[in-house]
């Protein structure tokens, strides 16, 4: 359902991505790892159409995202949602969190996620259900982001991410700002949600253990090039790219 074809991107003279191609099946989770500066977040931005690639195609549900503009782009956007790294930055500090969560639903009244069918047009109820899905108590609905813990904030961001029941949910290092114990809870939540709501994940991280836990396939990015792409069960096989082996060794140390 997602097809990234020969995408390149540079900022001024600085090449960030070179000829990156991969695809993602419906219901699959693809992990994307690489060190900082390898272009992981740029890929996320390009797929989210927050930025334009210099060349190549990004096809979501047979529609080339990189060609869309204005109203059509806005329409298509609801199929691809995102959870950012830092939940204290990704929620508007001046809005109660439940309003942030249902904002996408306000913007796309035509979207009708299966799990919200029964409470359509009742914003508060929809927020309650989304909170429940993300493992948050409904008592937190009226809080502001600064009144929540980091883990709770990230759950709020996840609740917003699933609110439209997107085909593809992109996670840009969703656990790297959290405590280790909370990371595990969040990862389990993501696993449960994926099977429950039938979404595909693109999971970006620099932590190979996290990616190994949640993904079915792993893509390795180095200096803007895709150097390795394999099934998670083949992570330790001998024919891995030397850079992948380096990452594994670094993680084991």
């Amino acid at each position: 359902m997602l097809e990234v074809k020969n995408v390149s991107k540079s900022y001024r003279s600085n090449t960030v991505l070179t000829d990156v191609s991969f695809h993602l099946e419906q219901g699959e989770c693809l992990g994307l790892i690489g060190e900082s500066g390898s272009g992981k977040s740029t890929i996320a931005k390009l797929i989210l159409a927050l930025d334009r690639s210099d060349s190549g195609q990004i096809i979501v549900n047979n529609v080339d995202f990189s060609q869309l503009k204005g109203r059509e782009l806005r329409k298509a956007r609801r199929h691809v949602q995102v959870v950012f790294q830092d939940p204290s930055a990704s929620l508007n500090p001046k809005l109660p969190v439940w309003k942030s969560v249902i904002e996408p639903l306000e913007n796309y009244p035509e979207a009708s996620p299966s799990f919200l069918k029964e409470v359509r047009n009742e914003k508060r109820k929809m927020a309650e259900i989304l909170f429940e899905k993300a493992g948050l108590q409904s008592g937190l609905l009226d809080r502001y982001p600064h009144q929540l813990s980091g883990g709770q904030r990230q759950r709020v961001a996840i609740a917003r991410g699933i609110s439209l029941q997107p085909n593809l949910l992109i996670f840009d290092e969703p656990t790297s700002n959290l405590d280790v114990s909370i990371q595990a809870q969040i990862l389990n939540l993501l696993k449960d949600l994926k099977s429950e709501i039938n979404m595909s994940y693109l999971f970006i991280s620099h932590d190979i253990a996290t990616v190994q836990y949640i993904s079915e396939r792993i893509a390795v990015l180095k200096e803007g090039r895709l150097v390795d792409l394999f099934k998670t069960k083949d992570l330790f096989s001998a024919d891995r790219h030397p850079y992948t082996k380096e990452l594994i060794d670094a993680a084991l140390e």
Partner: protein, 286 residues
Amino acid sequence: MKISFALQKNPFALQWHLKSSRPMTLWGIFLLTIIILMTIIGPFLVPNDPLSANMAERLASPSLTYPFGTDHMGRCIFSRLVNGSRATLGITALVIITVLLIGIPIGLLSGYIGGRFDSFMMRIADGLIALPEFILAIAIAGFLGPSLMNLMISVVLVKWVSYTRIVRGIVLSEREKEYVLAAKVGGCPTWKIIARHLLPQIISPVFVLAALDVGKVILIISSLSYLGLGAQPPAPEWGAMLNDGRAYFQTVPELMVYPGMAIFLVVLSCNLIGEGLRDKLDVKSS
């Protein structure tokens, strides 16, 4: 801390926590409250008609009939001061509101949309900022001709720039933040991102700037009126009253002292409040 909470809850309802304010800020609030009350109800209570001249009683000393004495036309100075506060403060309020209504939207659009609109607006802004605002205001008011309306136009024209620039600056830094990107991904149209996500972020800094600007605007208005570019005789206005008293400064200095004191007190109270507000809101930005 308290105020930052209040602001976060509702950026438009600025809750002033009197207990935690500095004493000087409280004095400013106290003074300005009295002045505003005087502006609103004073004109109904003054002892004399501010416009009626009585040449027999010209330059009289303070008495029961004329609490502050009379000016060179025999008009009651006290009544003129009280009525004049309407002109001075009313124009100031109108100028500030107009400046906000022009400066904020241009700043928001300039910062968020960018491109040619932004370049165009910023070149105008650069041009305006390159000139001293007071001299520019004199030039514009002089060009348009002396009247209260033209005075207001000239002050608005020199003042909107600083608001546009501060708003644009904030928008430029906020628009790259993840909550704005998330709103965009969540399907917010541009107007909604601006109105719902960016506007609340600029309210408090703009509020502080406006509070600190009130004093300056009063000074510019009074100065231009003093130069004869604002309120026209016989209408009472503090700057114009200063000008009236100028000829008699050697013999009856009170003619200039009273309006001067009035301007001084208003500017002082506005600046005290503005500074208190700035200190409060800085807590929030950390």
